[in-house]
Symmetry: C2
Subunit: 267 residues, 2 copies
Amino acid sequence: MKDSGRPIGVFDSGLGGLTVFKALRRLLPGEDLIYFGDTARVPYGTKSPEAVVAFSKEIAAFLFEKKIKLLVVACNTASSLALDAVRGISPVPVLGVIVPGVEAALKAAPRGGRILVTGTSATVRSRAYSRALAAAGRGVSVVEKACPLFVPLVEEGWCSKPVAAAVAREYLAPFRKKKIDALILGCTHYPMLKKVISRVMGPRTRIVDSAHAAALCARAELEGRGLLNPGRGGRSEFIVSDAPERFSVLARRLLGIRTGKVTVKRF
Amino acid sequence: MKDSGRPIGVFDSGLGGLTVFKALRRLLPGEDLIYFGDTARVPYGTKSPEAVVAFSKEIAAFLFEKKIKLLVVACNTASSLALDAVRGISPVPVLGVIVPGVEAALKAAPRGGRILVTGTSATVRSRAYSRALAAAGRGVSVVEKACPLFVPLVEEGWCSKPVAAAVAREYLAPFRKKKIDALILGCTHYPMLKKVISRVMGPRTRIVDSAHAAALCARAELEGRGLLNPGRGGRSEFIVSDAPERFSVLARRLLGIRTGKVTVKRF
């Protein structure tokens, strides 16, 4: 098989990474995509760095066997904690979602502006976003806030219920008066709460979603290496470590994605 | 070692089972207790029956190596889905939390009364409570309601925040007018939300917590087999599959339990 004809691997702790999958599908209609959701061990955001590294390497090794040409780590927690470890065992380029999110935020915030990073407890504890934003040397100031209830809220399908607004206020109302220029949705589930979050933060704050930015990075990476598969008709394959029916139902309900048959790979 | 001197094993998907641990500790001060929390794979409530059975058998086998004399499955989801499977491989008696919870509810509700069972999605889907209540032949009518946000709400330490009341109303307000005699807290995390739940349901509804009932069953089982270790000074040991510091902090914050050193066993 020509290298450009090989699939792109994408993985996440569960179904949140489907926001990245959707952006990839839109931007790269000719590519075959293999999505892996670690639904047996979801969520990653409350687990230890050691566990997240071990799970990520296991999944990456499984996807390498599928002869992928590029690996996209669509989970912010895994991108924060396990990117180097995965790169260390990878025969192909590996992209995370942190750097694309940071680039998008720096476009949205002025030099010296204020950026609020939201994410899981593990992502915030890792300080991966703060470090990447500091490294960009644009003099922005950064605050980070863990919002662990957002993932189960999304998975419950409650994004437009009053209770979603109540949870968002609980986490974010204290930041409303702090002149935040950009808020990074530092977890792939959070774009599904974008409206609610935007309402709490007010019109001053731009809400930055790294899914589209990550897909742009993936396209640039493939172009740069001559690995792009142009055209249309790329296939999509979905693999999970548990509960394929639930994954399929939620993919459709939350993101309008029709998965077809979802296969199971247990570790 | 005399058989009565051997420890009791207790396991849960995470830290919710500590409500059962606490009841055991209170009722059986002379017993050595080994608690295992599967924090690498928590929560179980959204996972498939196959996964819950596999995880439960793995943990049980690990606890059998510790020469336990009794195994208490403190997780409602595992009790609903994996009790027979664990008994099938167990050299010692195995108790779950469903039957004790049912017995307590039948004491709280009149013959022909109405019982509402709350629990995780997996517990409710299993219909384990409905079947056990029907088998008791007391003519009660049963409704079941999955409340998947309750576990993360508890783990966030938000039990007395207004948002906890908002979530409880979202799940339970439709049942308030339905003359519920007893509500079973069918998940070991839920006792920590007892006040909030009681306020939504009103004074008519008795709230039934299976932790104490399960501890009573454990004592009766040990007495019946001549395995009770009387007296005081029993030791407590805590083992988790991930993130021992987080477990220790939450055990103290949510339940006032000082765990001391928590060891890690990864699968």
